[in-house]
């Protein structure tokens, strides 16, 4: 239990998927101009990542490793994630329209998001157990959401300040993200 807690803390802060592992940067910059959007994306990622983390772990251990075809990992993971996103989208549309309306436009974005694929691959590379993989997927997703929301908070203000013209928009967004990555090194070595 304690180990899982440490794992979770480490995935959220120390090895933050965005700021320490460089995964999921396109949505990081794309969906952080408004707090509302950022929160929607954060929630969508938590939802999909937890499910993807579990399913790809099962696929890897019970299919790929069992049949000794690990070289199909990339192909099968991406298919699983794409199918999952499609399925989640259909399911939500039918059964929880409220949530679907909230997440809607962010779901398709997630398929081509390094963070989801990356975490699934990390789970395998680190040889996590199923429970560890579950915790790590959830915690990485929370870390993604946290970084995204923090970034959006700052960015909402930066957009309103008098940023020199050539630096506006993505450029200053990247500079801000860099400083946030610098700040996140504060958590290094804490577990």
């Amino acid at each position: 239990m304690g180990d899982l807690f440490v794992l979770a803390i480490s995935c959220i802060f120390i090895n933050n998927i965005l700021l320490a592992q460089f995964l999921g940067n396109c949505p990081f910059l794309g969906t952080s101009k408004k707090m509302e959007t950022a929160m929607g994306m954060g929630m969508a990622v938590v939802f999909v990542l937890v499910m993807a983390g579990m399913i790809t772990w099962i696929v890897d251990v019970y299919l790929l490793k069992a049949m000794n075809v690990e070289f199909l990992r990339t192909v099968s993971f991406i298919l699983v994630i794409a199918a999952l996103v499609q399925f989640v989208e259909m399911f939500l549309k039918k059964s929880i329209p409220g949530l679907y309306a909230g997440l809607g436009i962010f779901l398709p974005l997630i398929t081509t998001n390094c963070a989801v694929m990356g975490v699934c691959l990390i789970n395998i590379k680190e040889e996590y157990t199923f429970i560890e993989a579950l915790v790590s997927s959830f915690a990485y997703a929370v870390g993604f959401g946290l970084a995204l929301v923090l970034f959006a908070g700052v960015r909402e203000r930066v957009i309103l300040s008098r940023v020199p013209k050539p630096l506006q928009d993505t450029s200053i967004g990247l500079v801000t993200a860099g400083l946030i990555a610098l700040i996140f090194t504060i958590f290094r070595g804490m577990v």
Partner: protein, 423 residues
């Protein structure tokens, strides 16, 4: 002007001035050789005006531009219309100056003689809309509001001003009479009057519901009086009238009483002039008198780049011309030397939080100003309480970056209205 104190751990406190008792009466000023009336409607060259240069006007005559227009002014004298000029205010609202040359020999008060002085609201709306003190009859008659409470601002709303206090003490009887007339016209349940809690002058206020207001600015502003004394907090974007409350000047009641007492219209307005040194002068001037006449009467010298402010230091309006006339709601004229004028800047908000500390309405001014600068008015209203602002001007007074915040906010509200009207 009040300075930031050396140790400023607590927020600055600005206090109202009490009645200047050295001025016992208001000096009457002779009718000048030319008067200017301000009509809040612009001239439409496509339409044929009812009045034009050369027309003779009678004292008390109702002057309108067109048949179908609502705004009107009353001519304070008998004389001749000399011409028109256009005038535009702060937000580009257009109005018209009507120049009149008085003719002392003309007998021109028939207009009023012909009219029966009815004590009804309909009559008042049609004929008393421009009496000194500017009683808002059209508001009182507006069927959208259900005005049950009248609040007389016996305590002046802006700093330095003491006209209202003066009117209350000098014309207490007439004020009470005016209140009875008003009560008869409308269905008001009660008439309140605000009085500074430390006012030493004894004023007879029988029949009024007395509200003692504190001496700290902005406790005399309508929204604060509503909250502190009437127990009604205005929701953002509403005005006292929405809650059935109407704020009027004491002088409006005095004028009402005088008109029904004498059967004649009155046009002399009590005005306090505050010169550069803070010395006050009290004058009774005919509506339409150019400000320059009042200034020269007291030998108040105006130099290049000085300011002439109509109203008090926190909420007044600087005028660009000393020819601007006395209007029915003009109580105070303040002259400010160019040397004491605080420099404003176009700096960005530095987030010092001074405005947050002082804002009586808890408006997050630091963020609000960012959204206003970016022209995001809807967002400013939804998330940053633009409409909660009671327009006291304190944020601008303390702003460390010297941003004209008060003006931004007024402009923001104006733009928001335009936006919503166009939507």
């Amino acid at each position: 002007m009040i300075k930031r104190s050396f140790f400023a751990l607590s927020k600055p406190r600005l206090t109202y001035d009490l009645l200047d008792t050295s001025l016992q009466s208001a000096e009457p000023l002779a009718v000048p050789g030319s008067l200017t009336l301000l009509l809040p409607e612009k001239i439409d060259s496509a339409k044929k005006a009812l009045i034009g240069p050369g027309d003779a006007v009678k004292k008390g005559q109702k002057l309108k531009l067109y048949d179908d227009s609502t705004p009107y002014v009353l001519s304070p004298v008998a004389g001749t219309i000399k011409g028109f000029d256009s005038y535009s205010d702060d937000f580009g609202n257009k109005a018209t100056y009507i120049m009149i040359k008085p003719n002392p020999s003309a007998k021109g008060d028939e207009q009023w003689a012909q009219t029966n002085l009815e004590q009804t609201l309909e009559f008042a709306v049609g004929h008393l809309g421009q009496i000194p003190g500017a009683l808002p009859f059209s508001t009182l008659a507006n069927p959208d509001y259900d005005i049950r409470t009248i609040v007389v601002t016996g305590a002046d709303t802006d700093l330095l001003c003491d006209t209202c206090q003066f009117v209350c003490s000098a014309y207490a009887d007439q004020m009470a009479a005016g209140a009875r007339i008003l009560k008869a016209m409308i269905r008001a349940d009660r008439i309140c009057i605000t009085v500074p809690e430390n006012l030493s002058v004894q004023v007879d206020l029988d029949g009024f519901n007395i509200l003692r207001t504190s001496d700290t600015y902005p406790s005399n502003l309508p929204a604060m009086v509503m909250k502190d004394h009437l127990g009604k907090v205005l929701s953002p974007g509403t005005i006292p009238e929405n809650e059935g409350v109407c704020f009027i000047r004491p002088e409006a009641l005095v004028s009402l009483a005088r008109i029904y007492e004498t059967g004649h219209p009155v046009f002399d307005k009590v005005i306090t002039l505050i010169d550069k040194g803070g010395k006050r002068y009290r004058v009774k001037a005919t509506i339409g008198t150019p400000i320059s006449k009042i200034l020269s009467c007291f030998n108040v010298q105006i130099n290049e780049r000085d300011r002439v402010i109509i109203g008090g230091p926190m909420r007044g309006l600087a005028t660009y011309t000393v020819h601007h006339p006395v209007v029915p709601d003009m109580d105070t004229i303040m002259v400010q030397d160019r040397d004491v004028i605080a420099e404003l800047s176009d700096s960005a908000c530095v987030n010092c939080g001074e405005c947050i500390r002082i804002c009586p309405a808890n408006v997050p001014v630091n963020l609000l100003v960012r959204y206003l600068e970016a022209n995001l008015y809807e967002e400013a209203a939804d998330r940053f309480d633009l409409e909660s602002c009671i327009e006291c001007g304190l944020c601008s007074y303390v702003c460390r970056a010297r941003i004209p915040l008060y003006q931004y906010i007024r402009l923001g509200k104006h733009e928001l209205l335009t936006l919503r009207e166009n939507a």
